[in-house]
């Protein structure tokens, strides 16, 4: 795939080779921690438990998310579409 | 040059002058006694390629003209007392967001439904204080048909020059008066348009005070993608709660009129040279007062009249000067003393103030004024 990955530098990145159906693919998950408000919607909508909530003392509600295992990602884009804070980019 | 003399009503002249001033959007709602303006507009706006719309209510009418004006189209709405009240929130919005537009209010009796078909000057104070918060006010009060044409154009020029809504206050009788008049040559009209930004979009701020108290205004869809809000905002147009910025912005708004008061104030002296009794009047009552002055002069009474063509802001310095030397001040009004209360502050202990307040819907008769003049002696 020749698509341009356009994740800004201040994003955390996780990468992995994945198999989607029978096709080999590669996923890059970008996550902007500063913009994240720790609502947990990505954790809820993800069908593969890619995301998990972790404690974050610097956030007012005390939590943010992180990627547990990028290789589980099936690029369904649900987390990106439903993140209300423009914090997730999936390539 | 061919002279064009024909019959016009006051309402028609408002609409005609607006179109001649470049107005291309009218949003209105039927209300007596201003509906004729809308009717005329519905015929003539499409002829000149403009837009006429009858909105679902007065509030919507005010909103629509602000929206149209933001895209660079000069716009007008016309209403009367109760409708003017309904428009007030959006009028405040236009002050805050600094959107030029003209609101014509054909005044009728109030409060509430009051006297819808009768003469009154009931909204002098509503024009000044109708919306909440502090803001500059420019309100014009024509008394003659020719003047309606002239002052409507002036209202549009003020709106464009100072980026704010302008009030055009007509008395019911003046709006409904018809007479043959000669209009000025269209070529000779002075038409002003809003100052446009000269910088590229990335350097443009909608409320940039670097250009003076009236910032240049970009129109929507021209590449200057900016934000307009009724919230207190900084120069970028985005909301701010910074006390200093909000304070400075409010002061700038008021300064738009205060600093240019000499270009805005507009009044006429009649028989004032040796006058010791002075009448302050505006609108239709000034016409009665003028006859009363003539009649009093015939009796040898030294009386004169100061007539306000622009009622807000008032020419404070001149009024103060007159109050200091006058033996008596007479203020005839078709309300319970909305202007005379203000004049009283200038008169203070300097002179006595006599009021004529008629709210019954029947015009003040010259004899009513003459009687008070005689009393003042």
């Amino acid at each position: 795939m020749s698509e341009k990955i356009n994740i800004p530098d201040h994003y955390s990145k996780w990468e992995s080779d994945v198999k989607i159906g029978k096709k080999d693919d590669h996923v890059t998950i970008g996550y902007w921690r500063d913009g994240c408000k720790g609502c947990g919607i990505c954790v809820d909508v993800c069908p593969k438990q890619v995301w998990e909530l972790i404690e974050a003392k610097d956030k007012w509600n005390g939590q943010v998310v992180q990627v547990t295992d990028a290789s589980k990602c099936i690029k369904c884009m649900l987390c990106e579409i439903h993140c209300p804070d423009f914090c997730i980019k999936i390539y | 040059m061919k002279k064009s003399v024909r019959f016009y009503s006051g309402a028609e002249l408002v609409a005609k002058a607006a179109i001649d001033a470049g107005c291309r959007f009218f949003g209105g709602y039927p209300i007596t006694p201003s509906s004729e303006i809308a009717e005329y507009m519905s015929v003539h706006m499409p002829r000149v390629g403009g837009t006429y719309i009858q909105m679902e209510d007065e509030i919507g009418a005010m909103g629509s003209i602000i929206g149209a004006s933001l895209t660079g189209v000069k716009s007008l709405t016309a209403t009367s007392g109760p409708g003017f009240s309904l428009k007030q929130e959006n009028i405040g919005y236009a002050y805050m967001a600094e959107v030029p537009c003209v609101v014509c209010n054909v005044m009728r009796g109030g409060p509430s439904t009051g006297l819808p078909t009768a003469l009154a000057q009931a909204d002098i104070m509503q024009a000044k204080w109708g919306t909440h918060g502090d803001h500059p006010v420019i309100a014009l009060t024509p008394a003659y048909l020719e003047e309606i044409y002239e002052l409507t154009i002036k209202a549009f020029n003020f709106a464009e020059t100072y980026r704010m809504p302008i009030m055009l206050l007509l008395d019911e009788v003046i709006a409904h008066l018809s007479a043959a008049i000669e209009l000025p040559d269209k070529e000779l009209l002075v038409i002003k348009n809003r100052r446009r930004p000269t910088v590229p979009p990335e350097k443009y701020f909608p409320y940039d005070t670097a250009y003076g108290d009236v910032p240049p205004m970009a129109n929507f869809f021209e590449g200057y993608r900016y934000h307009v809000t009724g919230l207190s905002h900084d120069k970028t147009g985005f909301p701010t709660t910074d006390p200093d910025l909000v304070q400075a912005d409010q002061e700038r708004h008021l300064r738009k009129v205060k600093a240019h008061i000499n270009e805005i104030i507009d009044y006429e002296y009649y028989m004032m040279k040796d006058a010791e009794i002075i009448i302050f009047a505006y609108g239709s009552t000034a016409r009665a007062a003028r006859v009363a002055v003539d009649n009093a002069r015939k009796l040898g009474i030294r009386v004169g009249m100061m007539r306000f063509r622009v009622i807000w802001p008032l020419p404070e310095a001149e009024i103060l000067k007159l109050c200091s030397k006058a033996k008596a001040i007479i203020v005839p009004e078709m309300n319970m003393g909305q202007l005379s209360d203000v004049i009283e502050r200038y008169a203070a202990d300097r002179t006595k103030i006599m009021r004529i307040n008629h709210v019954g819907g029947v015009p003040i008769h010259p004899t009513d004024v003459l009687n008070v003049i005689k009393e003042a002696l």
Binding site: H82, D85 | G63, G67, F221, E222, R225, L231
Partner: protein, 284 residues
């Protein structure tokens, strides 16, 4: 592939002011993707809103944006569209803004069928003012002004829009971001007045008072009440109590024979007004 929201956002204003998990962000994203789908130029779009949580959205969008007075967004938008009929006008409104204080503008904008798109984010409450009950707060639910339970019957905004004459009406919920995008895109493409209702979660104000204080539980509550319109048509009225009917209520391509569509608008307003101009100029 990830969507470049940055292209349409004023990034210096992000993160936005909405609560963690607020549904408005999801709707805003769907709307931005729809703008990309129809390929509009940013300079040619005006985003207009009223007052409320939802109405803060235009401030984040890098277009011509107008944040007006409470409920009046549609009237400002009408002025903009009529003055510049070739441009695109999108209104972003909340349930209280659109159907309570702005109810009159709402039905009349539908009636005129002006080519604009209204996105109503329905979160069942007045979020910004502290969670008072709105015209869409379901009966029995609590708000800061209905602590004993709400008794005010609700509006179905879609049916209201349809009855008033809007020519494209659809509803989706924040649980279905893709569906929202599809409907908003169709609304943008549609010539005439389109209304898209996005049922969204307000856990901070509405949820908290109804034992659902986190975004997930309100989203689940919404999901549990979703009924696709095709299925709803086969159900009894009583079964549809408290349900959210999703789908397209009226579309331009569909020429249904339902009696409910009898007032389907016959023309788009700005085009119709042009015929008025032509007539007026002929007579001149």
């Amino acid at each position: 592939m990830a969507f470049e929201y940055e292209k349409y956002l004023r990034m210096d204003k992000i993160p936005h002011l909405w609560c963690p998990g607020c549904g408005i962000g999801v709707v805003l994203k769907a709307m931005l993707r729809s703008v990309e789908n129809v390929g509009w130029e940013k300079n040619d779009i005006a985003f207009v809103s009223g007052i409320g949580c939802t109405s803060r959205a235009p401030g984040y969008i890098d277009c011509n944006t107008l944040h007006t007075t409470h409920g009046r967004a549609l009237s400002f938008a009408t002025g903009i569209k009529l003055a510049q009929p070739a441009k695109h006008v999108v209104i972003f409104s909340g349930d209280g803004d659109a159907t309570a204080i702005g109810g009159n503008h709402f039905i009349h904008a539908c009636r005129r069928n002006i080519d604009m798109t209204l996105v109503v984010v329905n979160n069942n409450t007045y979020g910004m003012t502290g969670g008072q009950h709105s015209p869409t707060t379901p009966i029995g639910y609590k708000a800061s002004t209905t602590v004993y339970g709400n008794i005010d019957p609700t509006f179905d905004i879609c049916l209201l829009a349809k009855a008033a004459g809007a020519s494209y009406v659809a509803r989706a919920t924040v649980n279905k971001g893709k569906m929202l995008e599809k409907y908003i895109t169709k609304g943008f493409e549609h010539k005439g007045f389109s209304v898209i209702v996005a049922t969204a979660n307000c856990h901070t104000q509405f949820g908290r008072k109804n034992k659902m204080s986190d975004p997930i539980s309100v989203r689940k509550w919404i999901e549990s009440r979703e009924i696709p319109i095709e299925k709803a048509r086969t159900m009894k009225a009583a079964e549809l109590n408290d349900k959210i009917i999703t789908g397209e209520f009226i579309t331009h391509e569909e020429e249904t024979t339902w009696w409910e569509n009898y007032n389907h608008p016959i023309h788009e307003y700005t085009e119709a007004y042009q015929t008025i101009r032509d007539k007026a100029q002929e007579r001149k």
